[in-house]
Symmetry: C2
Subunit: 229 residues, 2 copies
Amino acid sequence: MKIPQNIKVAVDAVVFGYEQKELSVLLIKRGVEPFKGSWALPGGLVLENESLEDAVQRELQEETGVTIDYLEQLYTFGIPGRDPRNRVVSVTYFALVSPNNFKISADTDADEVQWFSINELPELAFDHDKILSIALKRLKSKINYQPIGFELLKKEFPFSDLEHLYQTILNRKIDRRNFRKKILSFGILTETDKIHQPSSGRPAKLFKFNAQKYKELQKSGFHFEIKFA
Amino acid sequence: MKIPQNIKVAVDAVVFGYEQKELSVLLIKRGVEPFKGSWALPGGLVLENESLEDAVQRELQEETGVTIDYLEQLYTFGIPGRDPRNRVVSVTYFALVSPNNFKISADTDADEVQWFSINELPELAFDHDKILSIALKRLKSKINYQPIGFELLKKEFPFSDLEHLYQTILNRKIDRRNFRKKILSFGILTETDKIHQPSSGRPAKLFKFNAQKYKELQKSGFHFEIKFA
DNA sequence: TTCATTTAGTGTTGATTTTACACAAAATTA
DNA sequence: TAATTTTGTGTAAAATCAACACTAAATGAA
């Protein structure tokens, strides 16, 4: 005799943002038990007729109002007991948001959505700390072999922003000359004619990531890959 | 008004084996509709109280009798309509089997389980061709940066087996001297005192993968990584 | 107005890694 | 014993990586 399966499917997203040389994660404060009042990753149950990706986008829209620039599946968690109420299998996603879309929508309760610096995280509900740590690992590893760092910057950015981004995420110094040389050698950045005036110091040219060019290069076997001194 | 969610959770596994310089995948012939009579990846619904990994192991045991040497989560598929009956979210796994465990258990119906060379695949049920192609991509990419190739060989193997394995999976020639030099330089192989007599030609020393050593090296920052001419 | 401070921008050299490449050694079979 | 098969090995040129420091252009303060 078979017992009918009753497992709920949820999605959760680890959304990263970067501003002011700080890497942050988007969290929501839970309004219901269990873990009422705790911070958690945005997410929720998948609806009957929507794809997993649609579910993530919908939940992010509903809960945070934030627009996502990059989204990929991270990992699926399904150990019985990870949710104290029911069996929930959670498909988690990894998302990046550019500073342009950093702001939290006005129609969400600001009390309940917040960016947290990766260095000052609160305790998280469920197994969300584990999910977050896997996402962070993915980010740290992936920026080395895929040009996803640009998703965390404005469309046009001074080179030093990219440099600082890598240093922040990888948490170490990078040789400026070697880094610039390497990235520029890929030929996937376009120099704009605009310049950026920092609060003090020499003005900087603005660059933008050329996704079109990147795709072409990919087709001819090019592989984005960074190694550091 | 909320409609209660009714989504089933399944697991499916792409199991790779390697023998006679051929890479193969383990498939089962479906005994029930839909796709009755078609070949498909082994898998099935997750039980109420088992973890996803346990579900994969159980299904593989039940359906194929094959013992798995390496298992990792691959990707989760959840587009509505991928199963014509119900909404099914399938968490897929990627598995490797060594030739020692290659044989299909006697208590399964041999008619319904079979190894297929990656070059002579039948049509597959559901979206299993897509799953398989992602698994293959993963395998091709992962053998370059993780020592998982050994899971597809016997515990003790002549060096040329490793060489052929890489050539088969990557589908290209590899320089024998450079390959050997690189792999040996890692220090994760132990030379046994046994030798292997090929059907003709010079006898070869047998090596084995030293998982212990690999773990130690990993801790001190070593990273398995292969690049080829 | 110039001096101190801040950030952007740039090349060279030595060390290391990668690539290309060919022949001798040990066994089997005819 | 000659032909065939597979193992095992070194070197040199090319490419990449790693280390390293000063000048340029702006701002703000003295």
